[in-house]
Amino acid sequence: MTWLARRALQAVVTALIALTLLFFLIRSLPGDPLAILSEDRPLTSEQVRDLQRRYQLDQPVGAQFTSFMGGALRGDFGTSIQYGRPVTQLVLERLPRTLLLGAAVLLINFTLGLWLGVQQALHRGRPLDRILTTLSLTGYAMPSFWLGLMLVLTFAVRLHWLPAAGSQDPGLDGSGGATLVLDRLRHLVLPALTLAAVSIASSMRYQRAAMLEALRQPFVVAARARGLTRDRVVWGHALRSALPSVLTLFGLWLPILVVGAVFVEQVFAWQGLGSLTAGAAAARDYPLLMGTAVVATAAVVTGSFVSDVLHSLLDPRARVE
């Protein structure tokens, strides 16, 4: 089997085991979802039986498991309790906004984060390196929901520079393209900055380490000795050899982004998967929560697969187990 096929198979197996674990996790919990649902609105035993049938709680565990796995593989996670609509439909509706936010954050982390990491490596142990390390560690230590509130307080409540929440101004429905795009971007700034601030530390740290490693390589020393300028050596030679290992970060970031999005989207009422998850948790909307958990898991597995493949394309040495 080729390396690629083996790696793909491994990703599929990991995802299947994860799904199985998720299913049995739910089954083994002490609580009863129906009891919580009926807490503030007493149900007749007929209604309870109806709900049990609808969520297949009257079936044996084995049947529930096959139906859950089959549904998950077909992309069917049942009906949301809160919205009364198919989970898959809700997830697909919310996906674009989360992808937009995620793309903005990745862009910041991949450009600014990597550039800062390179600067740190070049100033290793000097004040600039220390200051940047402290700043990034402080960002990493911040609860994203709190940082979001603080940015709202500063830039929306006090300065009125940017909108406090939402992803578009409902009053602009009839306006032209440029105004709409600008409005979307203005709404994107604070959530993206919040998520980038709490996650940029890992890209800076990785880039710093990879760059230090690269700067030690003989070919970098040789390039300097041949009289190439410092900038040429740093950005042309050293960075190029450091990049493949930094690409694996992509797989490392996805879990951080997926989790961060839950808090940040909730704070900014950003209508994506994160706020959908936070709302589902608050409303004990079990099928919906399960659906978003499966999507998050799939994202993590896919992310780590893609980053491995990218890495191996750029650096064939990575193709060993």
Binding site: A15, I26, P30, I36, G125, P255, V300
Partner: protein, 281 residues
């Protein structure tokens, strides 16, 4: 020759980050320990008409919240809870991770493969989602159960680290010598392997404390972790959402304390990593 812990302590102290982390963490622990005895009760309510949402001042150093409770006192009690949850959960998680890692590392073959495939799958499910699923069903989770849940979802990384180190050491001469002398598997694992994997465990455990504190604050902020009236840092930020625009002190201070606590723990963790593995500096 000084003992290893003393030497490690000196190495930590030598680094500015480590020193700052240790000092800040010691201060925070002292405050969390003594504060509750000195300050008014965190659940005591003042007069709702005249004492609610007071800005920071002489009577209440950090002001009061919408229920006229002293914010400083609530922060100190919340900090104590955060520290306890963080330390206990991270400790249990590391214990579990080390055990699984040692078992997988010393028992090659099927046990190893099964354990590591499971860990791979567990790592693929973001920790927050597992906790959300559990807490959404488990209404009003008791504190010990919450601590245990945070530990049960926090050991995967450590187990991988410990397994990798164990596999690397298995072929070393000192392990072979112990085997040749007739030492059993358990004795080799605990007497010969464990002390040699202590360094990565220590680092992972320290950094785990910060992760747990952030995670607990986040869960509580989403309304699923610690329930009112128990004061908690995440809960204070949640409560402040309705009033933070006009009374920003209700959310600024609890958040700052979370940042300070997690930052000092992580500074110590980073300094530990550097001290134990000088190449990473």
């Amino acid at each position: 020759m000084t003992s290893r812990p003393v030497a490690l302590g000196r190495e930590l102290w030598r680094r500015p980050g480590g020193r700052a982390g240790i000092v800040a963490l010691a201060l925070l622990m002292l405050i969390a320990l003594i504060g509750p005895f000195v300050l008014p009760s965190p659940t005591a309510q003042g007069d709702l008409l005249t004492e609610s949402l007071l800005p920071p001042g002489a009577g209440h150093l950090l002001g009061t919240d919408q229920l006229s409770r002293d914010i400083l006192s609530r922060i100190v009690n919340g900090l104590r809870l955060s520290l306890i949850i963080g330390l206990v959960s991270a400790f249990l998680a590391v214990l579990l991770g080390a055990a699984v890692g040692l078992i997988a590392g010393t028992r090659a073959g099927l046990v190893d493969t099964l354990l590591m495939r499971t860990v791979d799958a567990l790592l693929a499910i973001p920790r927050l989602f597992v906790l959300l699923l559990v807490l959404a069903v488990w209404d009003r989770v008791p504190l010990p159960a919450l601590v245990l849940l945070l530990a049960l979802t926090g050991w995967y990384g450590t187990s991988r680290l410990v397994r990798a180190e164990t596999v690397r050491l298995r072929g070393e001469d000192f392990v072979r010598a112990a085997e040749a002398l007739g030492a059993g598997r358990l004795r080799i694992a605990l007497r010969h392997l464990l002390p040699n994997v202590a360094a990565p465990i220590l680092v992972a455990g320290t950094l785990g404390v910060g992760d747990v504190i952030l995670l607990e604050a986040g869960l509580t902020y989403l309304g699923l972790g610690i329930r009112p009236p128990t004061p908690s840092l995440g809960g204070m930020v949640l409560d402040s959402r309705a009033v933070f625009a006009t009374a920003p002190w209700t959310s600024i201070f609890p958040g700052l304390v979370i940042v300070l606590t997690v930052l000092s723990v992580n500074l110590v963790g980073d300094a530990l990593r550097e001290a134990l593995d000088p190449r990473s500096a």
